[in-house]
């Protein structure tokens, strides 16, 4: 039976103060800020925000909440997009931002252990002198804890995978306040169920992740970047398919549609062709990146790719990638004052061109203004809908559009979310996509969090 969530009371606040002292706030502004993410979803502030500094503190906080059956919402950087951090039933938000220590770096084993609040940029700055780096790069300054909890990816997934493949071990505070290490630094193989990976992508619904051990990679000897415009999205996507199939280990392949390119040209004063455009990046030895770029150029040329430009010097690469970097701001500038509603479907790459083409046609029929950017190497693309949250009819139209898009993707054997996750925004799509698996997920949720206190109302209803 689901237990009605209890509310925070003075007794709990007192107990929390004993653990974190002054690092606690009930001020409306702080709570407000912790109940909202970067999306169009309605904010739901928690009753209190505590700023934890250690695993022990988190364990104490969760125990205090568990005893009173008060909801616990872990908070990393608040950049998620599906209402993940909304305190739907009130409760205690644990802000992990102050847990920002890099605990250990083991260059010989190519791994690093960090506290949950470390951001990927902080980690990479820390690693600067080791010759190693951590490749997963969501487009926002997310925390490693939040990235683990959402199984995030970025532009590098084709070559380096996502959080799913790059988390080696975790320390997790369970729903009853007990602390587990899911595996140690050893590369995991078959010692029991892979609980580490069960927490990866659990969106704060199974426990609070306090420490993460990550796999690192050697900084490539050479990097080159390339940009190429195509007559149609289909030509661009076919270039991607042939590239991957030929075994070229591309690090990044990003697609920007015609409208996105126009937006970027205006916003950043660039002179790219107003056409579907691919951005590439190659990592490897000097020789390998040169070979890779040549192979891709030949494939692109066969498919009508024009003005293939490539660069190896860092400043030239930055210039090439500027359009991609500025994409979001350029889109938002198309309609000052609006917010971005970002869709996230992922389809088999053989259906990608078809899916984007149909989606573009759908957009043309609708009054919505939108751009498309895609991590095309994975079949994942985002339609950035520029909406005014105060216009109910516009939000409703965006909702209908998004639903059509998701159903289109599902009909093509795709998924409703390639990287942003379910939160509470996509729970119905999860049911549409997985049906009975939702029952299995619910059973897991109940096994690990019988009182439903961990981020209740996300992923599955209990």
């Amino acid at each position: 039976m689901a237990v009605e969530a209890a509310r925070v009371n003075d007794d709990l606040i007192e107990a929390l103060r004993e653990i974190v002292g002054p690092r606690l706030s009930t001020s409306a502004a702080v709570c407000e800020q912790h109940g909202r993410d970067e999306s169009y979803h309605t904010p739901h502030p928690p009753d209190v925000v505590v700023f934890a500094e250690s695993t022990d503190e988190v364990a104490g906080i969760v125990k205090a909440c568990a005893r009173r059956q008060v909801p616990v919402i872990p908070f990393g950087a608040g950049t998620s997009l599906e209402g993940h951090v909304a305190a739907l039933h009130g409760g205690v938000c644990i802000d992990l931002g102050a847990m920002d220590q890099v605990v250990a770096v083991n260059p010989e084993d190519m791994d690093a252990t960090v506290q949950a609040g470390v951001t990927r940029a902080q980690l990479n700055t820390y690693l600067r002198d080791t010759g190693l780096f951590f490749p997963i790069d969501p487009g926002a300054e997310a925390s490693i804890g939040g990235m683990t909890a959402t199984r995030a990816s970025g532009t590098n997934a084709v070559r380096y995978g996502t959080m799913r493949e790059n988390v080696l071990a975790l320390i997790v505070v369970l729903a009853d306040g007990r602390v587990i290490r899911t595996s140690r630094r050893a590369r995991k193989s078959s010692a029991g169920y892979d609980l580490t990976r069960l927490f990866v992508g659990s969106e704060g619904t199974l426990g609070v992740i306090t420490e993460i051990t990550l796999r690192l990679y050697g900084i490539p000897e050479a990097i080159s970047a390339a940009v190429c415009a195509f007559p149609t999205v289909a030509d661009a996507v076919n270039t991607v398919i042939l590239t991957i199939q030929s075994g070229v280990p591309v690090a990044r392949i990003e697609l920007l549609d015609k409208r996105q390119m126009e937006a970027v040209n205006t916003y950043s004063d660039l002179e790219y062709a107003a056409a579907p455009t691919l951005f590439f990046e190659f990592h490897g030895t000097e020789r390998a990146v040169a070979e890779q770029a040549e192979t891709v150029q030949a494939i692109a040329a066969d498919l009508g790719g024009e003005n293939f430009a490539w660069a190896t010097r860092p400043e030239d690469r930055d210039k090439l990638w500027k359009a991609r970097h500025d994409a979001l701001y350029a889109s938002l500038a198309l309609r000052p004052g609006c917010r971005g509603w970002v869709t996230d479907v992922c389809v088999p790459i053989s259906r990608l061109a078809e899916c984007i083409t149909e989606t573009t046609a759908d957009l043309e029929k609708s009054p919505l203004i939108a751009t498309i950017v895609g991590h095309v190497g994975d079949g994942n693309f985002h339609v950035v809908l520029l909406v005014d949250p105060d216009q109910a009819e516009e939000i409703a139209e965006a909702e209908r559009f998004n639903e059509r898009l998701v159903m289109r993707a599902l009909a093509m054997d795709g998924t409703c979310t390639g990287e942003h996750g379910i939160g509470h925004g996509k729970m119905d799509f999860l049911i549409a996509e997985h049906g009975e698996a939702v029952g299995v997920m619910r059973a897991i949720k109940q096994a690990l969090d019988p009182d439903n206190i961990m981020n209740p109302g996300k992923i599955v209803r209990v």
Binding site: G201, P220, V440
Partner: protein, 411 residues
């Protein structure tokens, strides 16, 4: 009396498990039975044999994905992939010969469920990283699917990760969709001769940290190298540290040369061509060096240890100081295979006691059934984790009908 149930469709698997759950009758789930001897012996009443669920359901070479029914032989999968110059990225081992059940019998879901991951794991990832989706029947008697056929999918809990390495104790997989990879045009192996174990691990670490994209790194002490299937390795008369480079020919040639220069300080260097490389790594993958001293011939017990690479040599030294046996290293030193003189208790306390502060775990892969029934085959879990394991098992299989006790007693 043991009965063998042989469902022919996923629907029939569902009915069988529903029946077992209703009757609370435990089932031993079997693909081809090639790994029956891996894990604790399961005291199941009946056998659920999936062999009729066989066949490739979807193969899109362009997209690098394949779906196959549960008991599709790996041999069939390899053959279909080879026609398109592709392969499974996780290099599943054929443990049949090691376990005394014969070569070439493994099935796709058997490999995935045991999370068998070969030498390429250090670069390409484990079996669990290659699963895109699957259909299964839980011990509760419910059909469900997870994931799909796209490479990125964050719809809720990552059930495929839970299935890989669950040894059939949570759900019966009826089919699986995996990523496949292009076969590299060229494969070469750089050998360093004569390095001691600790030095070898350093050399491998240095190579793996370099920009030369090593796809596998193993070290064979002299006694193990001597039984290599590759003549030049067997004849080396010294320890052999091996580093694999794959890709287009010019790039491989360049990287192999660069690697030899990088590792100059560690000893004389040699190189294996593509054919020799394939034979060499197949034997590493299948633990072929320890097949000959199998159950009939001398009964060596085989342990598999996963430890931080930098601690691998130390752990092995501690074990071999106290016991008779041989070791070789895969995954840059992070995976140890040990063949030890047989003991009634498998020497499990000494083996597990040798694992240091960096952590790790040890699995008793080959031993007589009575030994496997008496000592923990899988690394015992600390209390909170053991409790979670039991709860997850309970969530999937409350009546305990799927491979009961195969991983842990009572689970």
């Amino acid at each position: 009396m043991t009965e063998t149930l042989t469902p022919e469709t996923a629907e029939q698997v569902l009915e069988t498990v529903q029946w077992a759950a209703a009757e609370e009758t435990p089932l031993e789930v079997m693909g081809a039975g090639s790994k029956r001897a891996y894990g604790r012996p399961s005291p199941a009443a009946h056998r659920l044999d999936l062999k009729a669920l066989s066949g490739i359901e979807l193969y899109e070479p362009m997209e690098l994905v394949m779906s196959a029914k549960a008991a599709t032989p790996l041999a069939d999968i390899d053959a279909a992939l080879a026609e398109n110059r592709q392969r499974l990225g996780f290099e599943p081992a054929d443990l049949g010969p090691l376990l005394g059940t014969g070569a070439g019998a493994g099935t796709i879901c058997g490999a995935v469920i045991c999370n068998l991951s070969g030498p390429g794991r250090i670069k390409a990832g484990a079996a669990r990283d290659h699963i895109l989706g699957f259909h299964a029947v839980s011990g509760r008697g419910g059909r469900f699917k997870s994931g799909g056929r796209v490479v990125k999918n964050v719809t809720g809990f990552d059930l495929s990760k839970l299935m890989a390495g669950s040894f059939g104790t949570l759900a019966v997989m009826t089919d699986v969709t995996v990523k496949v990879m292009p076969e590299p045009e060229e494969t070469r192996t750089v050998l360093v001769l004569g390095a001691g174990d600790a030095q070898a691990v350093k050399a491998m670490s240095e190579a793996l940290n370099s920009a030369f994209e090593i796809s596998a790194a193993a070290h064979l002490p002299a006694g193990v190298a001597a039984v290599s299937a590759v003549a030049s390795v067997a004849a080396a008369g010294a320890a052999v540290t091996a580093l694999r480079v794959e890709g287009p020919e010019p790039s491989v040639v360049y990287r192999a040369e660069a690697l030899k220069a990088l590792l100059e300080a560690y000893g004389n260097r040699e190189e294996l061509d593509t054919a020799e490389s394939l034979a060499f790594w197949r034997q590493v993958r299948d633990v072929g060096f320890f097949v000959a001293d199998g159950p009939e011939a001398g009964q060596a017990q085989v342990w598999r240890l996963s430890v931080p690479p930098a601690e691998g040599a130390g752990v092995a030294a501690r074990i071999l100081d106290a016991a008779d046996g041989r070791v070789f290293y895969d995954w840059g030193g992070g995976l140890l295979w040990l063949a030890l003189a047989p003991r009634p208790d498998g020497g499990h306390e000494a083996v597990r006691g040798a694992i240091g502060d960096g952590g790790g775990h040890a699995t008793l892969v080959r031993a007589d059934a009575d030994v496997r029934a008496a000592v923990p085959v899988f690394q015992p879990q600390p209390e909170p984790l053991a409790r979670l394991t039991a709860r997850v098992k309970e969530a999937f299989d409350p009546k305990g009908v799927l491979n009961p006790g195969r991983m842990y007693e009572g689970v």
